[in-house]
Assembly symmetry: C2
Homo-oligomer: 216 residues x 2
Amino acid sequence: MKLYSYFRSSASYRVRIALALKGIAYEYVPIHLVKGEQRGEAFAAVSADRLVPVLEVGGVALSQSLAIIDYLEETHPEPRLLPREPLARAQVRALAQTIACEVHPINNLRVLKYLSQELKVDDGAKNAWYRHWCRSGLEAVERQLSQLRAAHGPAALCFGDSPTLADCCLVPQIFNAQRFAVDVSGLPLTMAAYEAGMALPAVQQAQPSACPDAEG
Amino acid sequence: MKLYSYFRSSASYRVRIALALKGIAYEYVPIHLVKGEQRGEAFAAVSADRLVPVLEVGGVALSQSLAIIDYLEETHPEPRLLPREPLARAQVRALAQTIACEVHPINNLRVLKYLSQELKVDDGAKNAWYRHWCRSGLEAVERQLSQLRAAHGPAALCFGDSPTLADCCLVPQIFNAQRFAVDVSGLPLTMAAYEAGMALPAVQQAQPSACPDAEG
């Protein structure tokens, strides 16, 4: 298995966490997003959508972090990253997608670049954009966690005491939020789940600073 | 089962297609996004993230269209919306997520509103924004379909000849693209899959103009 990744890519970080949690060995292939390597010829031959992460497996280049993690869950079921019960599975997926579909896409590198380069938005307004979508998304996460706690009782991580797909998404999002100085006050359940996630050895192993292509 | 939906919401449309394909009856509860009903007190009591669609089932309000469709797939497995084989499942999921995570979130109503109201972007630049992200996402879809055809042979729909999760996402996205006059030339596989999807009775039944809250 080969993972095309960029150390700071939040979507790549999700997959690295899932691989580490499941104890799956892989070859790390760095793609430098800031240098634009994802648009180069070599990577275009691998990836139809020119995005990281890509997991190369069985002669196929799988894209989209959540699709990759679902594939890993189906082919390497232990430890499980989704609860067994369908409603609970859906709630964990919804938490993950609140981050992956409502926050991250609006704030990723190419969107921020478009704001600067095409719309001539200055850095202050660009940072305000990042913080607005990140904060409102995290508030939705906090409300979802609160509903989950009300229904299922206290939990150390996003759902229960074992890491799930939701933790694979939450940790990288908060990591990024902190880089952009997003206000994370008043989000006690979210931040407690993040801290508990960060303490997991698999997350430590997957974090940006532990990647072969890490920069200071 | 109760579906909170807005006729023009592309994410709601995805779920309506899945429900229709599986022949599941449900109560339709309209939430008027343009009037801001998703931020009102009544809906806030239902939905943690103040977004449609929400599927109320078993006393739980499920959010996020892809999580809802996965739930439907797990609890009403026939007809299947995902192939059986894990790699193929992941490819169908990746197609769906290319739309749901790379195109739609950047172009939805609240983002377009922020561009106008906070960043004072004029209508021309706002439409260019929509078209840019939609077109580049659809080009990624076209490349993915081309890879799938090369590996699996011709197909009437996104994957094979039966509708999948990918069709549930593609049809509403193209429908929206046409509303915004996005250039869809040079995307033969994508447009053929869209036309075949639109011809399905379930899609006809789920389309915006067939919703109880449809406006002219």
